[in-house]
């Protein structure tokens, strides 16, 4: 006890001694921090609004010619007209239907094939080269073929989106399966779990983070391909609307259509974010 008191006394006296000769001391220079962006609220919307405001001001003052780029207010007018005339829901529902069907089928098939490539040597040897060869082909180039194969109606449009979303999903899924911790699989085997249980309870959840980031990518690709899919023989659809506006050089409508796609992208990304938060809650 006394020795303890002694040592604490020593410390205080030492502290006092250090306090006395403070002049010669400098703090250790701080070299940490950075390399870790933290989310800052409202900055994103602010930047967006600032750009739109600048753009509007530029258009009104004549710095930006109306021929080069219509003012945001004009694009908004075109959008309001779409809403009021009821055309928006027509275009949107046609596009959404194609997107949802194409993306769902493409993703479901992609996950299935990706799992097969991840699990079976034969599937890997047989399908992986095929996937690698077909993935980089721009699906727009195949559109005429799709029209011949699946008809000029909905079939070719859904097929374009399906093929576009299928390949990235396959690659994300088998990569995710490859990355599942092998000791977890070995654990499952050592407890005598059935093959189905190991796939369903260990491999699939383990690959889920990769599958969901694949979904993020494939959803964006699906929206990108919407315009391509609606190039031929589409009466309604956001892509068709944009293409029509483009061919008439109605740039205000074109911008309104592009803004709709952009908003669609934001909503889809938000939905996938929710899904991630729900399915990957265990990551904390």
């Amino acid at each position: 006890m006394t020795s303890l008191e002694q040592s604490s006394l020593d410390q205080t006296s030492g502290g006092r001694a250090a306090g006395e000769q403070r002049e010669g001391l400098r703090p250790v220079p701080y070299r940490g921090g950075g390399f870790r962006p933290v989310p800052i609220r409202l900055i994103g919307p602010f930047v967006f609004l600032a750009i739109v405001a600048l753009w509007e001001a530029g258009s009104r003052s004549g710095v930006i010619s109306n021929l080069v780029l219509p003012a945001p207010s004009e694009a908004f007018e075109a959008f309001s007209y779409l809403v009021e005339s009821g055309q928006l829901w027509r275009h949107l529902s046609a596009s959404l239907q194609r997107l949802v069907i194409g993306w769902t089928l493409g993703t479901a098939l992609g996950i299935t094939v990706g799992l097969a490539i991840g699990l079976f040597s034969l599937a890997r040897a047989g399908l992986l080269p095929l996937v690698s060869a077909l993935f980089p082909i721009p699906k727009i180039a195949l559109l005429p073929l799709f029209v011949i194969w699946f008809g000029i109606g909905e079939g070719s449009k859904v097929a374009t989106i399906l093929f576009g979303t299928f390949f990235p999903t396959v690659i994300a899924t088998y990569g995710g399966v490859d990355n599942v911790d092998r000791t977890l699989v070995r654990m499952g085997q050592s407890f005598g779990l059935s093959w189905r249980s190991i796939v369903r309870k260990i491999i699939l959840p383990g690959a889920m983070p990769a599958i969901l980031s694949g979904c993020r990518i494939s959803a964006s690709i699906g929206i990108i391909l919407l315009v391509a899919a609606e190039m031929i023989g589409a009466e309604y659809g956001v892509g068709a609307y944009i293409l029509m506006a483009g061919s008439l050089f109605a740039t205000d409508q074109l911008l309104a259509g592009v803004a709709i796609l952009s908003m669609l992208g934001l909503i889809v990304s938000w939905l996938i974010g929710r899904l991630e938060r729900w399915l990957l809650a265990w990551r904390g």
């Binding site: 000791t183 070995r186 050592s190 407890f191 005598g192 779990l193 249980s197 309870k201 959840p205 265990w282």
Partner: protein, 257 residues
């Protein structure tokens, strides 16, 4: 149920990993396997658990599997091998779900093993919320839930800090005194081996051969830190291992060069 190893020899490519291992693990005893790193301890345990097959030799079981044992040969892994997306209770129930048990029976077993390992308050916790010691307790609870005949433990305490290791060793001793489980316990830590082993099998460096088997006839519960007899055994083991460990160390360096 006893476990018999006969003439286990194995090669990975050109390197011989194990050579002529003969060993018997009798019911109710803990056999510790020690040896320098890379001598094939984990490989041997994989053969015992049927996760891999040796080139030569065989692993045999003798006697009846105890009634009610769902998974006679059950692992406890060094890195716990818990599913990060399942809670503590779900991690335990995972290994019961493939057996024909009713939900109520499963629930009873889970509650029972969590109680026995002092985890009842952590049922809903996720692995990431637990300390290393708690994670290994969950892994032990999971192993107990399938009522193993032999537990195969591959360095179960090596990923833990030394205080936690002491606590878990106490837990294992208490568990053994209550349940008299059979175990093959691989470690490179001599203190663990001396504390937990009824017999200690010393392997040589690669290719692993049995150098000696040391028997300690003191009851597990009566073993305490600073016991001169145990210290003597530990020193003796260290004498045996020292040269092997040094040679093994150099061998790996040669491989890299």
């Amino acid at each position: 149920m006893d476990l018999l190893l006969r003439g286990i020899t194995h090669r990975y490519g050109a390197t011989e990993v194990l050579n002529g291992i003969d060993l018997t693990v009798s019911e109710g005893e803990i056999v510790c396997i020690i040896g320098p790193s890379g001598c094939g301890k984990s490989t041997l345990l994989r053969f015992i658990g049927g996760l891999e097959r040796p080139d030569e030799g065989e692993v045999l079981l003798s006697g009846e599997v105890p009634a009610g044992s769902l998974n006679p040969l059950t692992y406890v892994f060094q890195d716990f091998a818990l599913l990060p997306w399942r809670s503590v209770e779900a991690n335990v129930s995972l290994v019961l779900e493939d057996h024909p048990l009713s939900a109520a029976e499963r629930e009873t077993i889970v509650a029972d093993v969590l109680e026995r390992t002092g985890l009842s308050d952590f049922r809903k916790a996720l692995p990431r919320q637990l300390s290393g010691g708690m994670k290994q307790r969950v892994a032990i609870a999971r192993a107990l839930s399938v009522r193993p005949a032999v537990m195969l433990m591959d360095e179960p305490l090596s990923a833990l800090d030394s205080q936690t290791r002491e606590l878990l060793m106490d837990d294992l001793v208490a568990l053994w005194q209550r349940e008299r489980f059979t175990a093959c316990y691989v470690t490179h830590n001599l203190a663990e081996a001396v504390r937990l082993g009824h017999r200690i099998v010393v392997l040589s460096r690669r290719p692993g051969r049995i150098r000696t088997v040391v028997e300690i006839d003191r009851d597990l519960g009566a073993r305490e830190a600073g016991d001169p007899k145990l210290d003597a055994v530990q020193r003796e083991l260290w004498q045996l291992l020292r040269d092997e460990a040094r040679a093994a160390d150099r061998e790996i360096a040669d491989d890299v060069a």
